[in-house]
Symmetry: C2
């Protein structure tokens, strides 16, 4: 990766003086977050914004309107990634970028992704209000479909930007209703060659993503900010279990090859394997369990599971997957069912860049906020941006570690601290003189 | 029950001589069964006919047209139970009835229920061709929604006929799309007071149902027919498991209250409890498992299971349910989740009538076919008809015990034997002189 990511020069001697008057309009930002939460496929406070759905498109329009008000120029690529640019004094230099996503899984909350998009915009406006003049342009990026809800694969926009998903692979994606990506993006207004989505390494000078932690550690420890040094490696698998169906009354217990009973053992085997590492950074989840034919009086003949296993250590994660497959093979043999695995994605973990981390830590020192270094067990668009540019992430706490639920919550104080540090960091990175 | 079911006089001294020329048109019957299988919501050979759906209504029309051709008069009640009558010489006597259902669960086969309806019609035509004149009228009954697919409760038509489901309870039924029974039956063309569906005990003289076994015993033992002496007692439960949702990456394994992992333990506990009786007649199944929110990157917060437990011995069945609930309480306490049970139905088992069984056995002796007595672990409309009239059931084998699947199969030889014995039995019962 080193050859792809030219290191940011870890020197602040050329940096402009920090803007004197960093003052976040937190009331205005919270009102914008609330307004965006109201653009949902579900009744408030439930947020559901599936990519390319009507709510997603209306939410994009809202963000673009706010960016236009802030004087940013807007470019959309052919998959809907949206780049909102504040031109620097030296506009031919590669830009410093920040951003996140606004799509939301079914039954989600108001903060996941949104804090990085609207908070990133407020960081830019804060610098504008302070009279700061960036040398490098600063771009706010809204990534398409960070959530895997519709197409089964996460970070669609950043993945394609990094060339980790080819245009051909993307064109084969379908949603559960059988609608293809090509059809859906065109209806949403995004046309043009998908190959143009990929950016060169070096296109961006650096990338910093502000995000809620989606875990309990910062709040538990009473800290205001988290500095992410590593992003966990997610692996997503589909598991198909094929047994033998029959009449729930007439099929003898001793004759059964019940696909759901076998699936139950697989679900518990994954839980046990994830727990067995004893490491806080290992997690394993079965989030989807579809039963066929799914009638109360039919013995299930087929079950489809979707699982998600993550770790900051790729080898340890692969060990969990190996243990799962070994348990599944034993279950299949004992119960006379077939169990097959399909890997949907298995991405390598990412390591954040030392110089970007140093800029973050200097900004935290300037702001006086409390912070710790930590890892992200959730994945983010930064996982793929790390293939294009030096990256780091900044976490704000979230109440009770709750995310992907309507009661997800981050306080104005937490968000204000994050936006302040992001603004200081963008100022530093955009002032650096190396080309 | 004795006072509700006046015993059939177990005496054949008044019976008419058996018709000489019992000749089943098995080729014609098999063609009709195939034609009916083609009336499906799914592509052949998959049969799906959900009650009040378009395929169900077209299939009803087909059966009624065949009945009209056979000279039967037709009455439909306000829930769609259809009575096709061959008037006897003494039409004021209570009728002898036979019949079954034509609705089919998703992804089912061609024989479940249909053999009793079209086979019942062929039994009547066989007697007509033989020149037989019934003293009592013979009625072929097509019952509405024997399958619980749409409304979650089986034997809807016969249940209401027996007064085991009140009109008020029926009016509260909804399908999964939230459409009410009242709306659906009216759109299907069945109007009028639901209270009129209930029939008096004594309305029918007797009832005999021909059905495929839906189990493996007859084929395994090389027998042509089964004489059902008891019908198992089904209990259907909905189980709601409420845990805590969250982000599949960020929520620590040690903090989880995963509703699906808890459900997996409940599924295995039911399997173990059903097996623990060591009795061939005990079966327990989880056929439905719905996960909320059902996203690959969300820890499941809620799971809804639908289970079906049956036994010919009601007390033994209740013991399985008690063991399940005890295991579930332990799982709930250990995992910090809530598990609640809702009983959808818990019907008592039925015992077939000695005199009707005697008529069946005499007919089997006349025909020379091989047979055994057995129990039905599947439930049938006979379970509720037993509350109105003396009943018995006649089983034909089915290949591999397979049912509720597209590869469900019963051979022409098996079906012909069943129709022949049914015809002889109807002849006997309709000739008896008691009033």
């Amino acid at each position: 990766m080193a050859d792809m990511n030219p290191p940011v020069e870890n020197s602040l001697e050329n940096a402009a003086p920090n803007p004197v008057d960093i003052s976040v309009d937190i009331a205005g930002l919270m009102a914008e977050i609330e307004a965006l939460a109201g653009i949902s496929e579900a009744e408030p406070p439930v947020v559901t914004r599936v990519v390319f759905g009507e709510a997603d498109l209306r939410a994009r329009a809202y963000v673009k309107a706010l960016s236009r008000e802030a004087g940013l120029s807007i470019r959309e690529d052919s998959i809907g990634n949206t780049f909102m640019r504040w031109n620097g004094l030296d506009p031919h230099l590669s830009a410093v970028a920040t951003g996140s996503h606004i799509d939301a899984i079914p039954n989600a909350g108001a903060y996941d992704g949104v804090v990085g998009v609207l908070g990133g915009l407020e960081a830019i406006r804060t610098l504008q209000r302070a009279g700061f003049q960036p040398r490098r342009s600063i771009e706010l990026v809204l990534f398409t479909s960070e959530e895997p809800t519709r197409f089964g694969i996460g970070c669609l926009g950043s993945r394609m930007m990094a060339g980790a998903l080819s245009p051909g692979e993307a064109q084969n994606l379908q949603d559960k209703a059988g609608r293809g990506l090509e059809d859906l993006r065109r209806v949403a207004g995004f046309t043009g060659d998908l190959a143009s989505v990929q950016l060169d390494a070096g296109h961006f000078n650096s990338f910093v993503e502000l995000h809620i932690e989606q875990g309990p550690l910062l709040e538990r420890e009473g800290l205001q900010l988290g500095i992410v040094t590593h992003i966990a490696a997610p692996a997503s698998l589909r598991i198909l279990i094929e047994g033998e169906g029959g009449h729930a009354g007439a099929m003898l217990m001793t004759d059964r090859h019940d696909a759901l009973a076998a699936a139950a053992e697989v679900i518990l085997a994954l839980e046990a394997a994830a727990k067995s590492t004893g490491e806080i950074d290992t997690v394993g989840t079965v989030g989807v369990c579809e039963v066929f034919p799914g009638a109360v009086n039919s013995v299930p003949s087929r079950v489809r599971l979707e699982t998600d296993v993550r770790d900051t250590d790729g080898a340890r994660r692969d060990g969990v997957l190996a243990a799962l497959k070994s348990s599944a093979a034993e279950v299949a043999a004992r119960r006379g069912v077939r169990i097959s695995f399909e890997t949907v994605n298995s991405d390598p973990p990412a390591t954040c860049d030392g110089a970007v981390l140093a800029a973050l830590e200097a900004s935290i020192a300037d702001s006086g906020h409390s912070a710790r270094r930590m890892v992200s067990r959730a994945y983010h668009d930064s996982l793929f941006m790390a293939r294009l540019a030096p990256v780091a992430m900044l976490f704000t706490p979230c109440r009770g570690g709750v995310s992907h639920r309507p009661d997800e919550y981050a306080s104005p104080e937490w968000i204000a601290a994050g936006v302040e540090v992001l603004a200081r960091t963008l100022a530093q990175l955009s002032s650096q003189s190396f080309t």
